[in-house]
Amino acid sequence: MTPSLRQRIANRRNGRRSQGPKSLEGKLRSSQNSLKHGLSSKVDVSQFGKSFSKVKEILIKERLSSSIAEGLALRILDLERNLDFQRLIFQRNRRSQKTLQAERDQALRDQFPETDDLIEILSRVPDGVFSLTPEDTREGRKLFDQAKRFLIRVEKQREAREKRSSVRYLTRSANQLGKALKRL
C-alpha cells in the first residue's frame, strides 16, 4: 500500500531530524549514555593502559601460550576492576552521617534550587500578602521535607541496587578466574 501524500511529507520531515550519531567518536560517546558502573561490560583493555600487556607478559613467562595468557590476563583485570568498585562503595559508606546528610541536602538544592529560597522569601512576606498564612509556609516546609525524605529513600534504594549488582559481578569475576585457572 503506497503511503498518502501527508504520510510521505511527514516521513521526509522526520527523516531530516537527527537519527543519532554518525561519526565513530559520537557513536562511542553515546554508547556510554546508559553506563552505570560498567561491571557487566567486557573488560576495556585501553582503560588499564599498559597493565594488560604487562600481565600477559608475566603469564607468558610462566610457560602459558599467548592466547591462554591473554584470556587469563583479562579475567585478572576483570576481578581487579570489581575489587576497585567494592573499595569505592566501602569508602562511600564509611563517610559520617553528618557528611552524608550535608551531601544529600546539597544534591537536593542542586535539583530544586528555588525551593529553599522560595520558602525563605515566603516566610519573610508579611501576613495577608498573596493571602499566605504562616500555616501555608509551614505546609510548604512540610511538603519540602516530604520530597527530601522521598529523594533520600530513592537514593538509598539506588545505592542498595548498585551494591547488590556489584556483589554479583564480583562473584562472577572470581568464578571466571577460577575456571580459567582450572583450564590451564
Binding site: 604487562k54 613467562k61 569508602q91 572470581a174 577460577g178 582450572k182
Partner: protein
Amino acid sequence: MATKSSKEPSVSSISKAIGSSPLLPGESKVDYEQGLSAVIEELGAKTATQMYLAEKIFECLWWIRRYQNQKRMTIVSDMVYLLKPGYGTDDWKDEPIVLQALTQNRSTPELDLALRRKGWTMEVLTQKAMHRAVTTIGDMDRQIELYAKLLTRFQASFELHFHRKLNTERMILQNEILKRDLSAIEHEPIKALPSHDTESPSEDR
C-alpha cells in the same frame, strides 16, 4: 621470618603490573604487608600466578577484617548518638571524649555521667545501639559472608593450581623412574663377574 618479610614487600608481579592499591585511606601498609608475607609463606606460593592467588586470599581476609572493624565502629557511633542529650540534635562537648572511651573500651567520668543521665547501664546502651544498627550490621554480615565465599573459591583455585604443579612434577619423576627401570630390563643381564685376564664387553665396543 618477620624481618625477612619487612625487608621484601611481597607484592606479586601481577599486582605490581596492575598497580592498584588494596588499601584504603587510614589503613596500615605495614600490617597489610606483614600479613600478606605470612600468608604467602604459609601457602608456599612461588610462581606469579600462585603469588597473585595468595594475595587475593589475603585480600579477602583483609576485607573481612575491614568489615568487622566497621561493624564495631557503627555500634560505637550509635552508642554516642544515643548518649547525646536530645538524641543527636544538640552539640555535645563531651562527644569526642566519650567516642574515644567507647572505641578504646574504657570507662571515663564523662561516659559514666552520660550513662547516669540516661539511666542506662553499659549493657542496656550496647543493646539499644545494636538494635538501632541492626540493618547496617546485617548488610555488613552479608558482605563478610561474600568475602568468606570468595576466600574459599580462591583457596580452591590455589590448591588446584599448586597441586597440579606438584602432580606434574611427581608424574615426571615417576616417568623417569619407569624409563630407568625399563632401560634396565632391556639391558642384557651380566652373567658373571669379569676375570682379570678377560676384557669387559664395553671395552670390546
